[in-house]
Amino acid sequence: MSNDLNMKVNVLPVLTYNFLHVNDSTLQISDFNISDNKSPLAKELPAGVTVRQAVPFAEAGELFKANNDRILATIDGHVEPNGDTSKRDDSQALRTGMGADVDGLMISMGATVDIYTVDEGVKADKPIVISYDMKDGDASLSGQIIHAKKDSEVTVVIVYTSDKDAKGFQGVSTRLFAEDGARINLIKSQLLGDGFVHFDDIGGACLNDGKIDLVTVELGGCKVFSSAYVNLAEKNTEFTSNMGYLVRGDHNLDINYVADQRGKKTQALMQFKGVLMDTASKTFRGTLDFKKGSSGSVGDEQEDTLLLGEDVVNKTMPVILCQEEDVEGRHGATIGELGEDILFYMQTRGIDEEEAKRIMIKARLDSVARLIPDPEIMQKTLYYIQNIV
């Protein structure tokens, strides 16, 4: 099925100066003939986990609509921030990082998703591993929903691979629903070839005491959208995120992460570590949104970007929105080349500048890759890092 859609995605929760060109991005898929709308099945399911395959995207959204009164409970006295864009994605059953245009694409292209359900109280004894092995010329849209019922716990590892020189398009929708006391650990390792346009549009919601833990490694692809919107809807919910990325050549990475802190005593911790090389470009949008009623909540986002190419372009938009007095929000960013003191230290130990850079890039990415719980995928990721560095 071909199409000529140009979609507005990764819209910043609040608009800012247009000259910065960070308010949104465009996803162009007109060059691709999307023919595959199915997700690969997990190799082996842990006990207590079931899967419903190939559920039409719209139908799969019913799960979230049924819980809408808890996920998106009305906030009395809410005052909109200046430049608010939230209404734009009101149609989404569950808000995602890239926004409603991706839902529209999934529905219009007949994409389906697999729904993994973790039974109440089940602590999955091994991860669910989903491997997307893409071939040159592939163009696909697919997705998965991870539904962790009350007091359950599950780890999901998704790996995206292809040959190094392969070209294609891969769009994925990943939605996470952690019920009361449930915990979802999602680990994503993206190791696609240099010619792939890739997106993974993540949306998540946590009910009382629920937790979502996200680890993302973005290493491949020529145009990558990496996005997550996690709704900490009720009290004591948590979202932690660790991302490591490397962008090289003339590739582009476009990030939009939002922690929507609605419940009391929620916690959102987001860390982004990455490297830009050659003529690569990256836009980072990270938002902590303390809604009215989120008293006792804490949010922290940190970005650390190493610039190693003379022609790199780095855009950073760390946003904090707040309508609650009793919260603590922080963000910090350090952007630049390798510090002179580190270089000096390395050189005093006989390591030249190029080697020092390699060590620092590797250390940065390895620290995130080592969070991958599946040994095979972790090794595959470390090997990929080793090769490109």
Binding site: T316, R330, T334
Partner: protein, 472 residues
């Protein structure tokens, strides 16, 4: 109700220092009809006795104003109806160079604001604008003797500095910049021109004070300052207005040129009334080794769009921005700073504080752009917000665009409230809760107040007390 149980309750205090109104009689004042048309723009031009190029420029700006859209990212300005705003109001008497010659009613206003006293005690020169025109301008003899020019812009436009004005006027802030820069270009009136010659250091500050007294009027003053090579100046801007039930508009424009090795400090305490739409544009360009320092306090206005911008053009040029914004009841203050690094080894430091209270919306918005040419540039941004209740908003929306790999950029932001422990500590030493909170907020604002001359720091602290009382 529970939410307000442990909140401070402070008795109202008197705001009459700023809110007093002097009734403008038709006999003494000329007021242009409301609305913005080619006819009104030509009328302003005629009133100002503009040179031809300026009249044409105004008409071009009007076209731009009609074409450019309102920004989609800032606070709403739906309450601002240009058909109900008079672009030009002036007293029928001319500008005076002696205080005693200023008309009695206007003199009373500025006397109550303490301007002549400040001039006597701590300023090198004063310009006082009342509605659309300067009513008083004076510079101390010893400063004038150094060759410092401090005059109203209209006089400069027709005098020996006419060419200098023409080559600088709205070149740094072109009317294409945004809708209200275009509006300014169309109906600008009043404001000051300052030229500090090469190597001259003005030891004590110059000040312009802007008072918009008329209801339903706009003030569009233009400030143009050129600090030549190796020169040094501190310029202070103050603004206030009485409160009316109709919208007033301030769309001023400030253009600052800082030459090689020069330094300019531009301090503002803005306390417009809370029916004011403050859509002001300020911009500086800094040459090699030049230094631009901004100190900015935003306390008044119903709605503000204010982001002083600095272009660090020359190598080794520097910028420092220190700002505070206090958004109280009914206010939506969208403020911050912008900087563009062009030269090598340029550096910028932005340090802001924001306080939100009683339903006020305070937004810190900034952009730091480091161009490819800005090798070894350094930028540091720090923005702290203090929430004093849960009906207010405090948002930080900083943007960075970095295009050289050897830049060094650091950014940090914090948002939070006054800690219970700090209040408890102060209360255990016999300080009331309300005083404890006011002390903590003043301490929070200290990095800004310490950058101001003593008398202005006192004014700022008084404004904080006023806002903390809920009567700001």
């Amino acid at each position: 109700m529970a939410e307000t149980n442990n909140k401070q309750v402070v008795a109202d205090i008197d705001r009459s220092l700023y809110d007093f109104k002097d009734v403008e009689s038709e006999k003494d004042f000329y007021r242009m009809a409301e609305g913005l048309t080619e006819e009104t723009v030509l009328k302003v031009s005629e009133e100002k006795n503009d040179p031809e190029w300026m009249r044409d420029f105004r008409l071009e700006c009007l076209k731009l104003y009609n074409d450019i859209k309102v920004p989609d990212w800032g606070p709403s300005i739906e309450g601002l109806d240009m058909d109900k705003i008079s672009s030009y109001v002036r007293h029928k008497s001319d500008m005076k160079g002696k205080w005693e010659d200023v008309p009695e009613d206007i003199k009373n206003t500025f006397e109550r604001l303490g301007i002549p006293q400040a001039e006597r005690e701590s300023l090198a020169g004063v310009g006082a604008q009342y509605d659309s025109e300067l009513v008083y301008h004076n510079v101390k003899d010893e400063v004038a003797a150094q060759g410092v020019i401090y005059t109203d812009l209209e006089s400069a436009l027709r005098g020996e500095y006419a060419d200098m004005i023409k080559s600088h006027f709205m070149k740094l802030v072109p009317p294409t910049d945004h809708k209200f820069a275009a509006l300014h270009g169309a109906v600008w009136s009043g404001g000051s021109f300052v030229y500090v010659p090469k190597g001259v250091k003005v030891d004590i500050p110059l000040q312009s004070y802007f008072r918009l007294n008329a209801a339903g009027a706009g003030q569009f003053e233009h400030t143009l300052i050129i600090v030549d090579e190796g020169a040094d100046l501190h310029f202070i801007e103050g603004c206030s207005a009485p409160k009316y039930n109709v919208a007033n508009l301030h769309a001023g424009c400030v253009e600052l040129y800082v030459a090689k090795n020069a330094r300019l400090r531009y301090s503002t305490i803005e306390n417009w009334s809370k029916n004011m739409y403050n859509l002001n544009t300020k911009r500086a360009i800094v040459e090699e080794n030049g230094i631009m320092e901004w100190v900015s306090g935003s306390f008044g206005s119903h709605t503000s769009y204010l982001y002083p911008m600095t272009i660090l053009k020359g190598d080794n040029s520097k910028m420092e921005f220190t700002g505070i914004t206090f958004a109280g009841k009914g206010q939506n203050l969208d403020t911050g700073a912008k900087v563009v690094h062009q030269g090598k080894h340029t550096s910028s430091v932005i340090n802001t504080k924001s306080i939100s209270k009683d339903g006020g919306v305070g937004t810190y918005r900034s952009s730091v752009i480091i161009q490819k040419s800005a090798k070894r540039a350094k930028a540091s941004v720090s923005c702290d917000s203090l929430m004093l209740d849960s009906i207010s908003r405090a948002d930080t929306i900083p943007g960075m665009d970095i295009r050289t790999n050897d830049a060094d950029v650091g950014h940090e932001a914090k948002i939070g409230r006054i800690s219970d422990e700090a209040i408890f500590y102060l209360m255990s030493r016999g300080i009331s809760e309300e005083d404890a909170k006011a002390m903590i907020v003043s301490g929070f604002a200290n990095p800004v107040s310490k950058e101001l001359p003593l008398e202005y720091a006192v004014e700022m602290n008084n404004l904080i007390k006023l806002e903390m009382s809920g009567n700001g």
